[in-house]
């Protein structure tokens, strides 16, 4: 949202002046001033409910004489601040010019203590067995704003525990503080009304509507939204305490939306993926199907060893064999992948240029499926636009691989290098591949990889760093979360080593920094960008040169074709 400076208004949070746009609520205004206003039900991307009462603050406005409409001035000549006699909820009160907020006064402190006491009255305090422990707002606020001891001696309410409300979500009603974030998410974001409140008073609970379950592809967002441990994920259930997990910023490879994610790992094992807030791409949401993509790292068909004619070899031998094959080839076809990073595509383009063969073809296999109009776009390649920007392919239509089979049959192609793409998708089977020198580079084995003369394992997005260009031509980078399989070179290093073996021109080394130096000099749209300078929330790239390309995406969140 563009905030024009002249429209900003001044708000004073505990005496700190901040400029905010009109309509900003007091929680966001305080956040801007670096002051935390604790809250449970308020969420930046959901409607305001105002039912948890945790964000109560004192509010004051500059005094104006009712009769004369003149400012009331104090003895010091400044306008008097008229404080409201009662506290007000910060989430549902918007900033007005000259608004004063007190978050540290006695009345605010008492309010918070009181709210915490009420919330904890029926809370089971089963933190030792609760997956939310460590990232629980109830724990955090009890420590920061609670009274520190309990006065409650009566029996606690008993409510249903361990209720499966969907295939991926478990509900523990005793832990629920009835903030209603999940209810609002289902209604407003997922557009699938499943959850609601039932019963009265302290017996109030969250429940599914009769005959419905929370089974949409965005159901796990309610687990992230839940400020306590009431809604937990079945996949992550009792896997690991969150305080052991390392957070790595990453990008979801499910589609060209490029959902920003955080990968949570410990000692080289990934335990879960959660969305990372980016208001220009995915807000704070992500699909359930994208969250399980980490399972590809340890999948059964994972390729982890180099092989020549089925014989296991070291990485250096595979590099030499590939360079040798490419230098002897008469006609080479490359099956490039829209799942490769921008850096790998650029190096691959350099490799193609260095191949001495007479006939050279580069295909980009499209993976198009139905989009869900929200966060899964129709183009399931996360980096289609990267292939265009790096010049790996000239156009999407001409890069399709329908022409590959005839070229193989007539014999103009004698070598095929496929990178994370199965030759089968281009109609090539055992018969054709046996005739070719077939080099398969891939993270996983596929049905045709067994016919490969040279097999090269590649790394998944979690095991390397790099960048993608999403549907909005937004350049976004991802970091390495876990190490790759033992002895496997990074994709970039492997292509770079082959390029060096062929004597081709390229960047000074295989690091992302070096590749970006080279790309910034080569590619006008990337001019002035270095790998380190790509911000966490990504950076828009000028994609006007490709406006005529037949992109597959339709309208979805923050994108219209």
């Amino acid at each position: 949202m563009a905030e024009s400076a002249d429209k900003l208004i001044s708000v004073f949070v505990d005496g700190i002046e901040v400029k905010v746009s009109p309509g900003t609520n007091m929680i966001e205004a305080a956040h801007k001033a670096g002051v935390e206003v604790p809250h449970y039900c308020y969420h930046s991307h959901l409607s305001v409910a105002g039912n948890c009462r945790m964000c109560l603050v004192e509010m004051g406005t500059p005094g104006v004489d009712r009769n004369t409409r003149q400012p009331i001035l104090g003895p010091d000549g400044k306008q008097v601040i008229q404080w409201m006699p009662k506290p007000t909820i910060a989430c549902a009160t918007n900033a007005t010019p000259g608004l004063h907020i007190r978050t540290t006064s006695k009345i605010v402190k008492d309010c918070r203590e009181g709210i915490m006491e009420f919330l904890l009255v029926n809370h089971p305090l089963d933190c030792p067995i609760c997956d939310q422990a460590g990232e629980c707002h109830l724990q955090e606020y009890a420590t920061d704003y609670g009274r520190g001891y309990s006065r409650y001696v009566e029996d606690k309410n008993v409510k249903p525990k361990r209720t499966m409300i969907g295939p991926r979500v478990i509900l523990d009603n005793e832990r629920c503080i009835l903030c209603g974030r999940c209810v609002r998410f289902c209604k407003e974001i997922a557009k699938d009304e499943v959850l609601g409140f039932t019963e009265r008073g302290s017996h109030s609970t969250i429940a599914c509507f009769p005959g419905k379950t929370l089974d949409n592809n965005y159901s796990l967002n309610v687990v992230d939204l839940c400020p306590v441990g009431a809604l937990t994920s079945t996949d992550f259930r009792f896997k690991m305490r969150v305080w052991f997990l390392k957070e790595t910023p990453s990008i979801c490879t499910e589609s060209s939306t490029g959902v920003n994610t955080t990968v949570w790992s410990r000692e080289g094992v990934i335990y879960r993926i959660t969305p990372r807030r980016n208001d220009a791409v995915n807000d704070t949401w992500m699909s359930d199907s994208g969250r399980v993509l980490y399972k590809q790292v340890a999948a059964e068909n994972r390729s982890t060893a180099y092989a020549i004619e089925g014989r296991p070899v070291q990485a250096a031998e595979a590099v030499a064999a590939l360079a040798d094959t490419l230098s002897k080839a008469k006609g080479v076809a490359f099956l490039a992948s829209g799942k490769s990073s921008v850096e790998e595509m650029y190096l691959l383009k350099k490799l193609v240029a260095a191949v001495p063969a007479g006939t050279k073809a580069v295909h980009l296999v499209p993976h198009v499926d139905k989009g869900d109009d929200f966060l899964i776009s129709a183009d399931r390649n996360p980096n289609t636009r990267g292939a265009l920007l790096t010049g790996l392919v000239k156009g999407l239509e001409s890069a399709k691989c329908e022409s590959l089979l005839p070229m193989v049959q007539e014999g103009s192609i004698d070598t095929l290098v496929s990178l994370n793409e199965c030759a089968g998708v281009c109609g090539l089977g055992r018969e054709e591949l046996k005739k070719l020198q077939y080099v398969y580079l891939g993270t996983h084995y596929c049905e045709t990889s067994q016919y490969a003369n040279i097999e090269v394992p590649l790394l998944t997005v979690f095991e390397k760093d790099g960048s993608f260009v999403n549907q909005q031509f937004r350049l976004q980078k991802f970091s390495q979360a876990v190490p790759g399989p033992e002895g496997v070179m990074s994709d970039r290093a492997f292509i770079f080593a082959t390029l060096a073996k062929l004597g081709g021109k390229g960047p000074r080394n295989a690091s992302a920094e070096a590749v970006w130096e080279s790309m910034a000099a080569d590619i006008p749209q990337f001019a002035g960008i270095s790998f380190a300078s790509i911000p966490a929330e990504g950076r828009p790239i000028d994609g006007s040169a490709f406006a005529s390309q037949p992109f597959a995406e339709g309208k979805n969140l923050h994108f219209s074709a």
Partner: protein
């Protein structure tokens, strides 16, 4: 450095008789011969272990035989030498399903353990207790990395002051049968 020369004192007449100093030495020897011994015939005899002794950390069960550890992994977190490694798991046994969580494996590396007792102090379930075992040895490294079964065998059963999970189950049962909740 300055050197100070000391001269041995000349012996007195009594000392020069030789027999008197020998007798005074023999008196000490005789006194110790008839006194009760101050050492123990270890390993046949074992010392009495004082209360609050910090021996090998063990896992304990409550008097009903329920394993107390719920694998919250706080001991793993607090352990200074990183001797503890827990693989959490879910309880499938319907009798204890209300406790939900228990360790699939509990690994305690006694080559690393420094007997500090922080695991016992941090445990919210009073499930890990440093008891009176002071001798822990083995012929291989693998053997001295204690696993869940061995830790429960060493720990045994300790009295419980709360039975909090039993109370929880009772409340839930009462609620299911139309109790006041």
């Amino acid at each position: 450095m300055a050197i100070k020369v000391l001269h041995r004192k000349p012996l007195t007449l009594a000392e020069r008789t030789y027999i008197l100093p020998i007798l005074s030495g023999l008196r000490i020897t005789l006194r110790n011969m008839i006194k009760a011994p101050v050492t123990l015939e270890y390993p046949e005899e074992k010392p009495a272990i004082p209360k609050g002794y910090r021996g090998v950390p063990t896992l304990v069960k409550d008097p009903n035989g329920r394993e107390k550890c719920v694998s919250c992994q706080l001991c793993e977190f607090v352990c200074p030498p990183k001797a503890i490694r827990i693989t959490p798991g879910e309880i499938v046994d319907p009798a204890n399903a209300h406790v939900e969580k228990a360790p699939k494996d509990f690994e305690l590396n006694m080559l690393r353990c420094i007997y500090c007792g922080l695991c016992e102090e941090v445990c919210p379930e009073q499930a890990i207790v440093l008891q009176d075992i002071y001798s822990m040895n083995s012929e291989t490294r693998e053997e001295i990395v204690l696993h869940k079964d061995k830790l429960y065998e060493l720990g045994g059963t300790l009295p419980d002051a709360h039975f909090k999970w039993d109370k929880k189950k009772k409340a839930a049962d009462e609620a299911a049968h139309g109790g006041h909740h």
